[in-house]
């Protein structure tokens, strides 16, 4: 007989779970997390939560291992447990039934300071068995500029630090703490309601998980958890082992840190595949910098890596939605990211503007993996994001208005498919705010929001995606701040595809006082009538453009993705301009001549 095994970190026996119960519990785990996310984003107040779904929810065991996760934003993939680990550095041994803990400290597991997590411990028959936890981006958390702190020099200046504080202790609410938190933001009423919604969602998770435990018993539930970890691990290992062993390297860069505008920040990614195991080594990336673009390791770097691995090796297009994002996904991976690196900064580094670092990292990983699994990747993606915060102070109402806007990018071309246009890229997956909502509520006017047409899509057998252009005017005086990137970086073409186009950011475009903006302005004053225009990057092409189906080139011209003069020059396609049809024989001849 084999020896009795126990669930890690507990005295709960590990028992066999029949395949049917395993399926039922797998479904239950998923439902619990999805319901938590749904409650939050449907009742929350700030657009960054409800429209962008910039949130993550899940249940963790007492070892902080994530049993399940809501699928709202990939940015939060696998980040929930790290927050709890951070909380325990202060509250270990001091967790009680009825506690509600608030936490946002990026040097103790948080993703970045604006992403505030609520954690409620779960007790069953008096024993602590796990945590219900949910985090979301609050629109302002006492940042140095309204909603952004790109150029903050340290973690204290960029936000209010909430390090493992109990909003409720043993069921009793700490009103003074609550007040202190709200007094230190520009959006107190919105934050109050959002935190309330976070608590409601976490309470729901606790209640639902306890129902599951009640029904199946602790040993079966936690044994099923272990089996699901092992399942995810097994299925990922199988996919990794199909890729050829080797060392794959790519490097890209970030524009700058927002203050020192002359130094590009290197993003270097070495991936080593050995059998069913993978090492991700970021050692050669830039050291940490004295602004807020550093990327916390557990809260942001790891989720970015998890997202790419999940997307490339277990693509939902092929695997459906059924491989759960859980602890098992990290087991075949070794992370090498030394302290002091841009992707693992030491205290007191500021980190709140880390998003572009994570997305550039994701794009760089894709380019490295292109050498190993060329059929699973896209050519260079926008790999950035322009998060623009519009703000002002309404004298008549004695209140700030703060509106954070995620400006999407696009994907590079893909094997068998063109790049996705005007869509959130890689680690980002938010929902935009309708113009008919933002203009109604804020003193702004959107003059233009459409696909860029100053450049054609990057040619390739599969063309690159296109970014957006958005132009917004202020109707009263205010400020903009922005976390952006990709003004210097150009998305790369892959396997013969051509490069994409970089981003641009312009104040008062087309006016006499037009001004090119850097990608990370902190607080730019905007007087009434001033406008700000963002153009986001266009992705690279995949494969040789001479291989593109000639009919598709014609379609591209009709729809404005390609320009007429490109047909022969870039694609080797001859088009009869009067009939607007492809001249097939002339095309074949031209392409043959080009290739020889």
């Amino acid at each position: 007989m084999s020896e009795q095994r126990y669930i890690e970190g507990t005295d709960i026996p590990r028992v066999p779970v029949d395949p049917i119960t395993l399926q039922v519990l797998g479904g239950e785990f998923k439902s619990v997390a999805q319901e938590m996310g749904m409650i939050l984003y449907r009742m929350s107040y700030s657009s960054i939560i409800r429209e962008s779904e910039d949130l993550g929810a899940g249940i963790c065991d007492t070892m902080c291992r994530q049993i399940c996760e809501s699928e709202n934003s990939p940015m939060h993939a696998g980040s929930v447990g790290g927050y709890i680990k951070g909380i325990l550095t202060r509250l270990e041994g001091n967790i009680h039934e009825g506690d509600v803990i608030i936490h946002n400290d990026p040097h103790h597991g948080a993703s970045h300071a604006p992403d505030v997590q609520i954690v409620i411990p779960i007790f069953y028959e008096g024993t602590h068995i796990g945590y219900s936890a949910i985090n979301a981006h609050l629109v302002d958390i006492g940042n140095s500029g309204a909603g952004v702190s790109t150029t903050s020099r340290d973690a204290v200046s960029e936000a209010t630090v909430l390090y493992a504080l109990k909003l409720y202790e043993n069921g009793k609410r700490n009103d003074q703490l609550w007040q202190m938190i709200l007094d230190n933001t520009r959006t107190p009423s919105m934050n109050a309601n959002d935190i309330d919604a976070l608590i409601a969602a976490a309470e729901h998770g606790k209640k639902r998980f306890l129902e599951v435990v009640e029904k199946y018993g602790l040993p079966v539930v936690f044994s099923a958890e272990e089996e699901w970890f092992e399942y995810t691990e097994r299925i990922l290992r199988e996919q990794i082992s199909k890729a050829p062993d080797g060392v794959y390297y790519a490097e890209e860069f970030l524009d700058d840190d927002g203050i020192d505008l002359d130094t590009r920040l290197k993003v270097a990614c070495k991936i080593i595949i050995e059998g069913d195991h993978m090492t991700v080594d970021l050692s050669d990336s830039s050291p940490q910098v004295p602004t807020a673009v550093n990327c916390p390791f557990s809260g942001s770097t790891k989720p970015a890596i998890n997202t790419v691995i999940h997307s490339v090796f277990l693509d939902a297009e092929e695997f459906g939605n059924f491989v759960p994002q859980n602890e098992g996904l990290e087991r075949p991976i070794t992370f090498i990211v030394p302290e002091g690196n841009l992707f693992n900064p030491r205290y007191p580094a500021a980190t709140s503007a880390r998003f572009n670092a994570t997305n550039r990292l994701a794009d760089t990983m894709l380019q490295a993996l292109a050498q190993a699994v060329p059929r699973n990747v896209a050519a260079g993606c926008s790999g950035n994001l322009h998060y623009i915060v519009y703000s002002g102070y309404m004298e008549d109402q004695d209140e700030f208005w703060v509106y954070g806007e995620v400006n999407e990018g696009c994907y590079g071309g893909r094997p068998g498919k063109d790049g996705m246009d005007t869509v959130d890229c890689l680690i980002a997956n938010t929902r935009n705010m309708p113009v008919e909502e933002s203009e109604w509520h804020y003193p702004i006017r959107v003059e233009r929001y459409e696909m860029r047409d100053d450049v054609p899509a990057a040619p390739g057998q599969w063309r690159g995606g296109k970014g957006i252009i958005r132009n917004t005017s202020f109707l009263s005086d205010g400020y903009i701040g922005c976390e952006g990137d990709g003004h210097y970086h150009i998305p790369k073409g892959l396997f013969g595809g051509m490069d994409g186009a970089p981003a641009r950011f312009t104040k008062n475009s087309g006016k006499h006082d037009e001004k090119a903006m850097i990608s990370k302005p902190s607080s730019e004053f905007m007087k009434a009538g001033d406008s700000i225009q963002v153009e986001t990057p266009c992705g690279g092409g995949y494969g040789d453009p001479l291989e593109r189906e000639p009919e598709l080139v014609l379609e591209d011209i009709l729809d404005g993705f390609a320009w007429f003069e490109q047909a022969e020059r870039d694609y080797g396609v001859v088009i009869d301009q009067t009939a607007m049809t492809v001249d097939l024989s002339a095309t074949q001849a031209l392409r043959a001549a080009r290739k020889s």
């Binding site: 395949p19 049917i20 395993l22 399926q23 039922v24 479904g27 439902s31 319901e35 449907r42 009742m43 107040y45 779904e53 699928e71 990939p74 993939a77 919105m190 309601n193 409601a200 729901h204 399942y231 995810t232 097994r234 299925i235 199988e238 997202t307 997307s311 277990l314 693509d315 939902a316 297009e317 092929e318 695997f319 459906g320 059924f322 994002q325 699973n376 990747v377 999407e408 893909r414 996705m420 246009d421 005007t422 869509v423 959130d424 997956n429 938010t430 935009n432 309708p434 113009v435 008919e436 203009e439 109604w440 006017r445 959107v446 233009r448 929001y449 459409e450 696909m451 404005g560 993705f561």
Partner: protein, 696 residues
Amino acid sequence: MKRIGIDVGGTFTDFIYVDEDQTEVYKTSTTPHDPSVGIMDGIHAICEKTGTKPEEIDEIFHGTTIATNMVLERKGSEVGMITTEGFRDVLQTARHKRPYNFSIMQDLPWQTHPVCKRRNRYGVTERVVPPSGAVYKPLDEEQVRKAVHKMKRDGITAIAVCFMFSFLNPAHERRVKELILEEIPDAYISLRSDIAPRFREYESFTTTCLNSYVGPKTAAYIENLINTLKASGFVNANLHLMQSGGGVATGEAAAEQPVNLLMSGPAGGVLGACYTARLTEVNDIITLDIGGTSADIAVLPNLRPGMKHLLDTQVGGFSAMVPMIDIMTIGAGGGSLAYIDEGGFFRVGPESAGAVPGPACYDRGGKVPTVTDANILLGRLGTELLGGRMTIRPELAVQAIEETLAPALNMPMLDCAQGIIDIMNSNMVRAIEKESIRRGRDARQFALFACGGAGALHACAVARMLGMKQVMIPLNPGALCAVGLCTTDLLYDFSKTSMMLSTKVDNERLQADFEELEAKAHQRLIEDGVPESDIRLKRIIECRYEGQGYELRAELDGGNVTPESVAGMLERFHMAHKDFFGRFYGETPVEFATLRVEGVGVMPQLETNRIEVGTQDASGALTGHRGVYFKDHGEKLKLFETSVYDRAKLKAGNVVSGPAIINQMDTTIVVEPECIAGVNEYGVILIDIDCTERNG
């Protein structure tokens, strides 16, 4: 009153005829190339069967998937669009969110199959702005003329006009319509301010474009059907079409706004369920409609269908901003495949064997076991289906399981079969729980209403897992949609975005806005010939707490808008929020976003016919016995000697104790052990779960 309901489905077209003393159902095969062929065949057949002359028919109610299929199969018209300059690619970007988080290779349906191609989208200078709809840039008519001229050259006649904020001031859109008609007199034009005068440009533009996308072909279909009916002698029958919001529209109204027909298919079933439940004492039901590939679930407290949330009203990957009954569809049906996945786990669905190759036991080449195969092996399904028109081969089901699942799971064949059923049922249980929790309801307080071909096979087990006490099965579970069609009222929905805060209510503006919407609804109903006494108008305000993103509906009393009536509406809103989210904020200002008027033209009640009365003794309907496997007290599988009954012979008052099987042409009812079924005076079967003695 003599009426006929016609529901065109993917495989079959169902008919029901109802008058004062007769109800008759009929089924034909759907004729996909031209559904009216199957319709005319069936309608003549059912008239013949009931001895009715065509000219005697008063009403024809029709549910059609023609518009839905056009969207799903991407076979609508080539659409041209005129929109505000600077917003040409709203359709391309959608809400800039990908369907999957973790996928490089996914498709964005709104980009791979745009409802209007980019080459046909024209931006023109114009703009109106909030909050009043003031003109910020006047309409450039020259640009419009040029765009229309180009469309004419390209042969485009289906056109959508979508301007920003046009719900505040439709003047520019209306002028564009005049300009189009000057150049293209036969154009099919959809104005955003008519079709979806609500804020959120992506959803509203898409809805308007979808209307033009399905418009010309749907209008032609309806016109052709009306003409064919008239030519075939149905000269006195009014044709009404089912809409996704749960009411019917006249043929003329449906042809103008065919976008309202999208996803109307399952709505008939829900209405049929409500109608059936009214024939019993049960007030709260959850419907479970299981077909071959999917299952539809709807939660109906007080027998009132809910409406879908804005984020969920999608068709084929496009957002359609039209009222839709809140029905959830999951990929679980009789054809769902059971298999071992790449990680070694046992799965059932969502992939389905479909009609071809079908379940293994159908002997059409299927090698992978399905839910149907499991039901056959456990004896729950008989070996003759569709009243003997189809014979099946259980040995092929055995073979499928023994070759795939049994060795991998190291379980006996029958336990594998039961495992398939358990996983299938648990998928449905979770979906029902999620649906009821989402709406703040406790499933245990509801009866489970089973319909579709396979609903009654699983209902007892599903109800038991959920802790529900009762299962209800209508007289004709397969023809329920057709029944539902005959029970609906005329329903038109008019809405308008008009934002206002509860702290600054302008009663006069509200009054004026509602009167304008009511006048539209009233006029529409009068045009349809509804007498004044049968017209009902309902006011709804879609509100949210200030700062929130999504609205909930709250009813406002009719008559003059007063502080009291607004307070009553706000109270209903707070309660709706509490229902949905478990809490409400009495002190927070409430924002009114969209005003809505539902205009109802009340139709005469459907006559209901009683069945023959008998005693408790159901032996008159007994046709034999067979061995069926059930779990003994929820534990091990055990073979039970099980009575088999013919539903057609059951009489009112009959009682059937489980385990039992009740067969009828379009379904098989499983009465599990410790369950007791009773038949009521209208033929509805009610099964009490976990019960050894029948109450009453």
